[in-house]
């Protein structure tokens, strides 16, 4: 990942080290195998989603993605993502800033803690919130007295989503900012820049592509999360069902075409995210290339 220098091999075989010069057929074999594998486990399932979705015609497809429960699931999924992504972005920047630019006790512990949501199973992540905020949970009676509903409502879904997507931005930024070191900020201080000025003019421009990349990964995961959200959702149709949960419900109700239609919505959201990601990669490459010259 960032900070690791990879050797770029020349395109001209003559100039490449001998042991890296495989015969042509080995190259084709490897490429062919990789392609075949991709075709089998990525392309085919994706295509089959669309085939199943349109099996009963375009009318059924349109009807099932414009049906009110599907729309409310879509709305909830987007809402959960647009709340948890900015929260995790702010947190990620703050954490990466603290970890990479300052020295303090327990830094390693903080880094480990940030990684925790990756290590914990999403179902456990959901249960944690039930244990904390459920009616029988730690804060349950207090919340109940004040009539605050967290679990089985939007706040719980956002919490679960935020928990699961918590490390993406921070994980992306920490190595980047660590590699950059505090020198540029220090230089800015000596030139008389103030705190926010340094952040907006030095730190942020330096990390922007990494940041956007992290946000996009975070967003992709937030929209697709199933396990954790399933535990805290309560599965109330039209209210606390996200898109992935709605797909499961439709599937279980023998509405296979409808369930694949809704699944195809998720695929489209994912494709859109991928396009954004590639765009950002391309953009950052171009910019670095330009500035290098």
């Amino acid at each position: 990942m960032a900070g690791v220098v990879t050797a770029h091999l020349s395109r001209d075989p003559e100039l490449r080290p001998r042991h890296r010069n495989e015969p042509r057929w080995v190259q084709w074999l490897l490429i062919g195998l990789a392609l075949l594998f991709m075709l089998l486990i990525v392309a085919l399932p994706l295509v089959s989603i669309f085939i199943e979705a349109f099996k009963r015609g375009v009318d059924v497809y349109v009807a099932s993605i414009t049906e009110s429960d599907a729309l409310s699931a879509l709305r909830l999924t987007l809402l959960a993502a647009v709340i948890s992504v900015p929260i995790n972005t702010l947190f990620g920047i703050a954490a990466a800033w603290a970890i990479s630019k300052f020295r303090f006790r327990g830094k390693q512990f903080l880094v480990t803690l940030i990684d925790l949501p990756f290590a914990v199973s999403p179902v456990i992540a959901g249960l944690i919130f039930v244990l904390l905020f459920g009616a029988q949970g730690f804060f349950g009676p207090w919340l109940d007295d004040r009539n605050i509903q967290i679990i089985f409502a939007l706040p719980g879904i956002v919490l679960a989503t935020a928990f699961v997507t918590f490390p993406f931005v921070a994980r992306e930024l920490i190595p980047l900012m660590q590699a950059q070191g505090p020198h540029e900020e220090e230089a800015a201080v000596t030139l008389g820049a103030k705190g926010w000025q340094i952040f907006w003019r030095v730190t942020l421009p330096n990390i922007k592509w990494g940041l956007l990349y992290g946000m996009i990964l975070c967003n992709a995961r937030a929209m697709g999360e199933f396990g954790a959200v399933s535990v805290v959702s309560g599965h109330i149709r039209g209210q606390t069902n996200t898109l992935p949960l709605h797909v499961e419900i439709l599937y279980n109700e023998y509405q296979f075409s409808a369930s694949f239609a809704v699944a195809s919505l998720l695929v489209l959201l994912a494709v859109f995210t991928l396009i954004m990601k590639s765009f950002i990669e391309w953009k950052s490459h171009r910019e670095t290339a330009k500035e290098a010259h």
Binding site: V4, R75, G137, I151, E184, P205, G210, I236, N252, E291
Partner: protein
């Protein structure tokens, strides 16, 4: 890619980075605006409804005499797995009836899943106005934290069970394994599909029916019954958490030779997939499954929805409610409607939970609580 970034971003305060900083800001702003829109979208909706609420509450204040329509009300019915289609239709019928009766608009929200799991959600704070679960024990469990009054079962007729059902076998067309009765399920080459008795109500009825059959055919020898269900569960390759999950496992994923299913679930899958693919086999003995309903007292009192919630459950006992239950293959309890649908069902000798198993509390403790017979006989992966 990023180490290249580093190299190039050395020049501090160049015009370019200023521009990129602005671009970054712009992109961040876009994200925020989108989130504001999304939030706003949600808000306008809730704002809309709450706005609507304040309006409706202010209008009656202004013109109490004009008898404005009462403000709309929402109910949440937390139910078990196979009642999805039943309640979609019933909710519509009740909403229409309630509107005619009182002028009030009622929206009923549904949540479905394994019965035990659903009960657990209500205990954990899912704000259900009514619960319509697969068996009494799951509602008893909700009485423990004080959400439901302990005497709930006497609140409505027939032990608060508006409709009943039983457990039958669903086999593949032509019954290739020749399954006729419970005995055939313990043959070594038969794969049986049933949900997990820990989370599913239907699965507990399945288990008890098998247990009852074994007792009856072994002179009430409990050790033999344990052996029997143990052999049966050795033939179970997957335990889903709810009845509907098991049905899709059997019907869609085509796993297993026989599905132990709710009678209504079995008849429904014949409907969905045509008669050609599956057959129902009625065993010589089964169990009278009584899925009960109850008001969640704490929630309806907090929300002020008791009246409409009671009317909702009571409506299940009316001719229309019973007719809808019959249409969805539940056995109606109202004699007139039961007569109408009687050809739908085979006559089976039925055990009952109270007479043959000493009620749900006893049965649950003996078989399904931690350390019960199910824990003894079921070893995952064996």
């Amino acid at each position: 890619m990023r180490q290249d970034l580093l190299k190039t971003l050395r020049g501090v305060f160049t015009m370019k980075t200023m521009i990129s900083a602005r671009l970054t800001l712009l992109l961040l702003a876009v994200v925020l605006v989108v989130s504001a829109c999304g939030g706003g979208g949600g808000n306008t909706e809730t704002g809309g409804t709450s706005g609507g609420n304040t309006e409706t509450t202010t209008t009656p204040n202004n013109g109490e005499a004009k008898t404005d329509p009462p403000k709309p009300v929402e109910l949440l019915n937390v139910s078990y797995d196979p009642t999805r289609e039943l309640y979609v239709e019933f909710n519509e019928a009740f909403a229409k009836h309630w509107k005619e009766e009182t002028g009030q608009t009622v929206t009923i929200n549904q949540s479905h899943g394994g019965s035990g799991k659903q009960g657990r959600s209500v205990i954990d704070g899912l704000k259900a106005d009514v619960v319509t679960l697969a068996l009494g024990y799951d509602i008893d469990a909700i009485t423990e934290p004080g959400l439901i009054e302990p005497d709930w079962q006497s609140q409505f007729e027939n032990n608060s069970s508006p409709y009943t059902s039983t457990i039958v076998f669903l086999v593949r067309s032509g019954n290739p394994k020749g399954i006729k009765d419970w005995d055939d399920l313990i043959k070594p080459d038969v794969e049986v599909i049933t949900p997990n008795p820990k989370t599913s109500g239907g699965a507990r009825w399945n288990y008890l029916a098998a247990w009852g059959y074994a007792l009856k055919h072994n002179n009430n020898d409990e050790a033999k019954a344990e052996e029997f269900v143990s052999a049966l569960f050795k033939n179970v390759p997957v335990l889903d958490s709810g009845a509907r999950g098991s049905t899709t496992t059997f019907v869609e994923r085509k796993i297993g030779d026989v599905l132990l299913a709710w009678e209504n679930e079995a008849l429904l899958s014949l409907d969905e997939f045509g008669e050609g693919e599956f057959e129902i086999v009625t065993p010589s003995l089964s169990i009278l499954a009584e899925p009960p309903v109850a008001i969640v007292d704490k929630v309806v009192d907090d929300r002020g929805t008791r009246e409409v919630a009671e009317a909702y459950l009571q409506y299940l006992y009316t001719e229309e409610g019973q007719d809808i239950a019959g249409k969805h293959y539940y056995r109606p309890t109202l004699p007139a409607i039961a007569e109408k649908y009687k050809d739908q069902y085979e006559q089976i000798e039925l055990l009952t939970i109270n007479d043959d198993f000493g009620g749900w509390q006893t049965a649950q403790e003996k078989h399904f609580s931690d350390g019960g017979t199910f824990d003894k006989i079921y070893i995952p992966g064996s």
